[in-house]
Point group: C2
Chain length 346, copies 2
Amino acid sequence: MRWRPTVLAAAALGGRALLTAAMAAVQGVNILDGAATAKAIRAELGRDVDALRAAHGVTPGLGVVLVGERRDSQTYVRMKQKVAAEIGVHCVDALLPDTASEAEILAAVEAMNADPDVHGILVQLPLPAHVDEGRVLGAIDFRKDADGFSETNVARLVMQGGPPPLAMPCTPAGCVELLRRHGVPLAGKRAVVLGRSNIVGMPVAALLQACDATVTVCHSATPDVAAVVRDADIVVAAVGRARYVEASWLKPGCVVVDVGINAVDDPEAKRGYRLVGDVDFDAAKDVASLITPVPGGVGPMTIAMLMSNVVNLTKASLGVETAPLPGRLGDAETTTRLSGLPKEGP
Amino acid sequence: MRWRPTVLAAAALGGRALLTAAMAAVQGVNILDGAATAKAIRAELGRDVDALRAAHGVTPGLGVVLVGERRDSQTYVRMKQKVAAEIGVHCVDALLPDTASEAEILAAVEAMNADPDVHGILVQLPLPAHVDEGRVLGAIDFRKDADGFSETNVARLVMQGGPPPLAMPCTPAGCVELLRRHGVPLAGKRAVVLGRSNIVGMPVAALLQACDATVTVCHSATPDVAAVVRDADIVVAAVGRARYVEASWLKPGCVVVDVGINAVDDPEAKRGYRLVGDVDFDAAKDVASLITPVPGGVGPMTIAMLMSNVVNLTKASLGVETAPLPGRLGDAETTTRLSGLPKEGP
């Protein structure tokens, strides 16, 4: 099934973001639909929250520390609150002015560390320039580390054996959970991660390796990224450059996870721009066997995984056994969605 | 210069281990001589120790916890003590019987945490089966973590930015320091690490990436290791299988670091066995541009890096600035030792 007729219909409706979403929804064939997958996860988490309330009388709580009035930060926080409400997680907000001192911000974090109604704490970044982000993040009790960024959770993520992390970085966990729920086998596959950030590249590489993929990490000092990508069964792009990954780099039949969200000028769009990923989606979708759209791919998964962390931290605080997403790591998927065979031509 | 005449002379002297060492010493051309490099580092550390004593009246102290009477553990500990004495590091030993309870071992660690004369603590592994190793290692104050295995130091090793680790895992640091001191450029090179252990594979991959190499980690679930190794400018083998890596896998001119120490039967050897690495050295040395021998390669570097950790932890405790080995990470070496060109044939 080709998507062209649908695209034309969708194009008549408006901007390209909508068009991409429509493609994902209607084509279905090779789209890793993060919006639908995240919706399913949110429903599961909602049932988990109900069960916790019934069995323990406890409602998972997310504490959010927001400093200043950055528009984008406010938008993110609002989205998180909306999803929390949908699932039944209650939110405790600490809204501080731009002028708040580091001591005041630390005090807000400490108050949440001590608050038994808060099970996960999120400090919205970036913080104002006069504040030491590392010190503020480091003040979060790792048992309430909703973002999975604490030293304890990062060390547990990259080490074999020993106690598992209590929470996982949300975007990386979202990438891997999306692959798992679409039956993409990871064990024994070649995975290439583009980018080595603390937030995405490093932890997604660790997660893919924990799932028994053979992982290569490319970064700004890699001279020939295309040559590395060419060997990949799975490509995770997290470099923050619009349409950086060309279709010609991809091995036919590979699976592409696009973490990038980049604004590019588009005079036809209402706002004058539209969002695209790090991958040239329009060309890559004809080469890849599965690919995430932007938007509607990894984005919705990230917030779902944040909520998964809050629910898991709540369970851990109660001594309830958790099965942290993404799944039991190393649990090899056996479907054949990733055949390694070339996808039929257009 | 070829080594054959020397080998024959060395062979007349005795076992193959000696032969390998003689090859390394005399050939010199493409051997990464860990014994000589470690000796140079120990001399530097000895001067550091003298300077610390002169300026601060402080002697770096290494606390060793040894439980039971395993022969190999006793040998390792003796080697460490010998090197400590050479450098001027003083040793505080806690020797406990096999029957020591976990509480007794933890008490020994806590005593060293509290002892101002101990700057680095080493718990010799393995511990007896009735003891939770993770709990004992986790009890070491990360500011005295001589092995660099604490969650704090591991997280700092794999994360970009933020505070650097106070100590680095010794064998991985030894591998990278050996490469640096032989002028092997890492930035922009393809590195393949065989093995993903907490002790070697994972941290050496993190260090190589911090030096701007493009790193791939192979492990037990990698189906075609040879195909991955073929792309490598730098190969680090840490799988614990005698002569696992074949010369035919290697890209001509690559650099090979062999972490393996495997005993193989050898009726001609005095003890009935000899030690070989994870790489088929005899064949690989004609393909690689540089290669570590076993023994005499990574082994001596490991103990030197342990002492470097103790000295650095001492400096950190005094607020003295440290430049932890291996060097300033990311500091691209500019020599042309790794030309990428095929080595001339035999």
